[in-house]
Every structure is written in C-alpha cells, then in structure tokens.
Amino acid sequence: MSHGQAESEADDKVRCDACPVTCYIRPGMAGACDRYANREGKLVRVDPHVLLERTVERGGAVVPFSRSAAEWSGAVLPEDSVFVTAIGAGTTYPDYKPAPFIVSSEVAGVDIVTVVTEGIFSYCGVKVKVDTDRYLGPEQATVRAEGEAVGHVTTGEYGSQMLSLGGVHHLTGGSKKEGRVTCEALLQLSNGAPVELAVDGGVTIAVEAGAAPIINGVREERMRVGCGSATIGMFAKQWLGHVDEVIVVDDHITGVLSEHQAGKVLDIPPTGVKMKGRRSTPGRYFQVAEPGTGWGGTNVSDPLSILGPFNPQEARPGLTMLMVSTTGEHFGFYRLDEALRPVETELPEALRLSVERIQENCEPALCTVLFMGGAGGSLRAGVTENPVRLTRSVKDALTRVTCGGAPAYVWPGGGITFMVDVTRLPANSFGYVPTPALVAPIEFTMRLSDYAALGGHMDHVRPLSALTDGAARHVRQIDGNPWPVEPRQQRRKA
C-alpha cells in the first residue's frame, strides 16, 4: 500500500486521489496514468523509480550492472543488495499523506525500514567551493545568472573561494524571473551541468560540479599548496644553497625566506629586500597588492612591483632571488646588478625542480557543489504522525538520512537541514516544480522497531520484495558511497 487515501468501495474498487482525474480503479487494473493500480483492493504505485544496487564481490569478480531494466523485471534480488531511493518516487506534499514508499527489508538479521519521498524544497540552495586563489569578487557581492541575482560570494576557505547560491529569498522572494532563473541554475548545478555565473565587481565563472572552474574564460588548473608563508616553510630546506632569497607571492600572506622563521633556523642571512604591504610577523606580509587574477591571486603581473629598493646596507651585487606564486604557475629568477636592481635571468635547474615540486603539490582545482535543503514539517509528516520525533531520531543517529542513496550531512540543531555532494547521486536526480522550488530525493532509514517508536505509519510499511516486481530503474551504487542500510554504531543518547 502506498500513497493515496484511496476510498475503498464494497466491490474493492478504489478511487485514486493522486491527481484530479480521480480514477475509479478495479482490482488488478491500473488508473489512466498507469502509475497507480489497485492491488487486492489497495491503491499501489507502480511506475518506475530508482532502486540502487550495490556490486557484490563474488570470487573477486564484480557482477556486471549494465543490464537493462527489462532484464531485471521480476528478478528477485537479495534484499540487502537493493536500496530504494526517492528518485522518481513522487511526493505527497503539500497534502498530509504517508510518504509514497515505506519499505522494509532485512539487513544482517535486522528489520530495517526506509521511508522514501521526493521532497519539494523552497528552502534550499547549493554551496559551491571553487578551488582557486583568484579573486572572484568582494565578499557579499551578488552572484548573477542571466543577469538575475541568484546568490552571493561568501566567506573564502583555504585555497578556495565559496559561493552561496539559491535560498528562499532568490527563489520566491524576488521577481518571477529571479525565481525562475535561480531555480534553473540550482537544478543545472545539482544535476551536474555547467552554469555560467557573473560576480558583481568581479569575474565571470563557469561552474560545474566535479570540473575545473573556468574564470574569465581561463580554465583553472590547480589550487595552492599553502599560503606564501606556509610554502616558505615547506620548501626552505630545498632552496638552501641554491638561492639567496625566495619570495612566495600570495594575496593572503606573501612569504620572504630570509626574514621568515624557517630562514632564520637555516641561518639564511638578510638580503636587504624591501617588501610593500603590511608586515604581519617576520617574513610574512599581508596586502602586497590588490586581489586579482595575476600572481598568487593578486593583481600583480610584474612581481617586482611588490618590492621597494633593496637596502644597500645588506644587499650586494650578484645576490640571487626566486619569486614564485603559491601554485608555481608564475615564477621568475633574478640577480642584482651593480646598482642593486633585480634583473631577470634564466632559472637554474635546481630551482626549476623546486618550482615543479610546488606545482606537483598543488591539487587539481575543482568546483564542488553541495546541495543543501531543509525537510519541512509536512515532509516529515509523511514519515511519522509526530514530525518532531523524526528530527530527534535523526539527531540521535537512530535514523540515517540519505539523498538518492548518497550520504547526507545533517546539521546539528533544530529541523532536518542536510547537505549532500551532488556528484554522489545518480544522474539527474533533481527536478523542480514551477513554484519555483527544487525536487530532491530524500530517504530515512532506521530499524523497524525505531520506526514504530517514533510513530511511523506502520500500516503503510511493505516489504521490499513487493516493490521489485513493478517497473523500476536499477542503477549501480556509486563507488565510494557507504551502503545506506548498513548497520552502524548508534549514538543513542543516554
């Protein structure tokens, strides 16, 4: 039994209320949509939706999963290798009804129930992490798609810039067009498609989950290994004896070897270098230039522009200096002439290797997209008659939350606000309704006994085997995802 407060007639006809056609359906027959049917006097949903299968190792060989849905139809699968996702499950929002699927299965001898629904989220958005030191735009700047405000630049993270997109204010709080464009951008990003964004007072950037960002038309290659100061610390020993001074140019903290603690430890003598910017601690400088898309996330194209004249008390003709960005993408080697002016010259072999080492230690730059949404009261009511108990059960780790079978991080505190890496879901798991709001799959998995305890719709629980005989789309479990119904340590409160 599923979705639908079907009215049963004396002769076991049911009236389906899933849509306004309100078909009368006789036993063994389907409604006009072929999605709902009358099975022994009960309304059941029969249309395809996504079941996750995990690869089972047998004698070291992986069972192939490239089979078509047709070949699978009717197949009885071991219960513990199939997980019912909410993708394509449908939703009961905003009516109060039990969730479309409440499925029980036995896993490692334990009765497990998974409550499956597609949630309609108007409180939702994506957090985008862009691995780059390049300046995307001022913090709090508006981020636009097709000219419409869809989000903003938020607090940067280590080696990465962060965008916060979507949210209820852009979806439903602005103009109709703003809502539509926001919804489209979120849908595209969540389904792994590229989206072109423009930052007010900053760059244009093409973002795609799992792909390198393209900033002002240039594909970003790597993220920095560390800030300029950290880079000095990491590589100081490798430079010793090959060069007198090293400056690692970084928009955050530019490092100067001879002044840095790492240089002091190695007894590197002062070089008379004079840095622009604001000195933080010895050998560490803030704000040597403006942020930009040049060296190390600054607007610098000529690195010598961040240096003042060398101090003649300490500098000497012939002194050598390496300037390098935090990703090793930009570098230059200089020798002081008789007037103590740096003159660029060819990079010696030993230093070339150290620059390559910096490059090697910089990871590929990626855009990562986390979908974030909150399960509202009515969605939770599809799970239990007492929605707050579901929240508590999730907080107590009795109930596991997954999104299309992918692990979800649930925020502490009230409600069920979760984040999921969109690349961990099967392709095209997200949809939308014209409200506008996003449709995302969400599954709650728990022990059957815990489900009963939280006031679950026990009369709607049906076995997994009752489901696999309908048409369903089987997809392979995504590599690296934990199996959603695997028993795990519980964090039950004392």
Partner: protein
C-alpha cells in the same frame, strides 16, 4: 493540490528533451533551434502545461459524453480542440472527445511553444505517449519510424514528412496499450494536420480493424474494467488469439475502408495499419508513408526513462 504544485518538469538525461508529467499525462518535448529559442519554448511549454490537467478535469464529465455533429461549447482550450477533432465523425460512429485527448494536449503545448519562440525554431515535437504534435519550419523534413509496441523497437512502417506536407500530428491507437479499443489492430498510425485529428482518426480506424463475433477475440464491457470509462458498456478488446492469414486480411481490409473514407474526406493524409505482423498502408500520396522491413530508426513510442 493544483497542477502548479503537482506537475513535474525535468530535462531528460540527454539534457536535450523536456519531460512534463502530471497525473496521466506524460509529454516528451523536443525543440530544435537557437539555444535561446529552445529555452523560451521549453519555458512556455512548462508554463502552459501546469494548467492543462486541472482544466480538463473541470469538464471531464462532459468530455466523456458522446459527441454529436453539432459542436458543444467547452471552456478549456484543450477541451475545445478535442470536441472539434471528434465532432466531424460523430454522425458516422460513436465517439467522445476523449478519443482526441492525448493529441489535443500535445497540440496545445506545441501551440504555446510556437507562440513563445517560433522565429528561431527549426522544429518542435510534443510526444504524448505516442500521439505526437509536430511542427517543421518550411524546408525542414523528418522521418518517423512507427512501432506497434513501445517495448519492441521493430519498425512496421516509416513516414517521411516535409514541412510542405502540412502534417501536424501523428497518432497511434490499438488494442494493446493504455486506452481501450473496440477493434483488434495491434497499431494504427495516422497522419493529420494536427495531433487531435490524428488521434481521433487513429481511434476510429483501429476500432474498424475488427472481426465481429469471432470467438478468438476476448472482449469485456469497458466499464467492468474501468468504472468511469467514456466507452460505457461497449465491449473492448482484452486479448486476440493468433489469427489465420485470411482473417487478418479481412480485419485489415475493414480498417482500410475506414481509413480511405477519412482520407477522401480530408480528415487524414495517411494511415498505417498493423495486425499480427501484417502492415497495410492507405495514403493520399504514396511518398508519405510506406511499410518497412524491421530495422533501426527513430522510435515513435518510447519508454520513459526520466
């Protein structure tokens, strides 16, 4: 809950076609043209779509009642398309506007798309479970493969359409499948100036492909299967045993006679009739449609994999 909240709108995994679903309506929409025009057309399709089912259901009881040659007035634009498509046949056969519902919905969505973006589009197709509204810019041509069963990708006929042929609708009706048929055809596919007219004609021709009183055909009153069917207690086909060659020819000839009448009247341009491996074609112009040996091609009725 209304269609604005209920209707599902999503791009198919190919990121090219749009899938719209609401209640029993499943549309696969495809437009070709400049990216801006395609996007505008898809937006228009989704915007119009969410009201369609609610509009239809508001007049559902009337739409399930038999039509007469005199047009009834309906409020909903889709309902008016349905009635207009079936009324010309109501003097000859029993028919209700529901015979054209799938085609009329497809026509309505196509019209909304053209209204939004026809300048920069090359073609539009709106496929409603095998009943297709089609539009081609002058000079464009397309080939459509016809299959009798959506789960078997074997073509029984092929239609070659050019914009100047004026074919705006392709529809298929038969005994297997979602809606009931009074006849025994596996599939009858018609070409007409719009999908609603093609849909109504396919229903009429498929009903005519018949062997009245033959014990090899299992029939049941429609209402015993679907209590609110527009066909009432009329006997609908539930199963057809394997038929001999002569019986197949007789049944198909009955259908062909109906198809030829519709062609002569200008209601359709062509029809392909398929029964137990035999295909017959009636066409105002032999170039439009031809029987086909099974081979790869565009599949008319495709399974949803959204």
């Amino acid at each position: 809950m209304n269609g604005t909240e209920r209707a599902q709108v999503r791009m198919l995994p190919d990121r090219r076609r749009l899938h719209l679903q609401d209640g029993p309506i499943d549309l696969i929409v495809e437009a070709a043209g400049t990216p801006g025009a395609v996007a505008a057309a898809y937006r228009a399709a989704a915007a119009r779509f969410r009201f369609v089912l609610d509009e239809l259901c508001a007049e559902l009881a009337e739409l399930r009642a038999p039509s007469a040659p005199a047009l009834r007035s309906f409020h909903g634009p889709v309902a008016r398309r349905m009635e207009a498509a079936v009324a010309p046949h109501a003097g000859d056969v029993f028919i209700t506007p529901m015979a054209a519902v799938a085609g009329a919905v497809a026509d309505e969505i196509l019209a909304a798309m053209r209204g939004a973006a026809s300048e920069d589009l090359a073609r539009i197709s709106v496929n409603n479970g095998g009943d297709i509204a089609l539009w081609l810019v002058p000079g464009e041509a397309t080939t459509v493969g016809l299959v009798s069963r959506p789960d078997r990708a074997a073509l029984f006929a092929r239609a070659r359409l050019r914009a100047e042929d004026g074919i705006g609708g392709i529809a298929t009706s038969g005994a297997p499948g979602r809606s009931f048929s009074l006849g025994v055809a596996d599939a009858v596919t018609t070409l007409a100036s719009c999908a609603a007219e093609a849909d109504a004609a396919a229903t009429i021709v498929a009903n005519a492909v018949d062997l009245p009183g033959d014990p090899r055909i299992e029939r049941r009153p429609a209402r015993s299967l679907q209590p609110d069917s527009d066909l009432g207690d009329r006997l609908v086909t539930r199963g057809v045993a394997p038929l001999d060659t002569d019986s197949i020819a007789v049944a198909l000839e009955r259908g062909l006679a109906a198809a030829r009448r519709l062609i002569a009247r200008g209601a359709i341009a062509a029809a392909a009739l398929h029964l137990q491996g035999v295909t017959r074609v009636a066409s105002r112009d032999g170039r439009l449609m031809a029987p086909e040996a099974p081979q790869a091609g565009i599949i008319l009725r495709e399974p949803l994999d959204a």
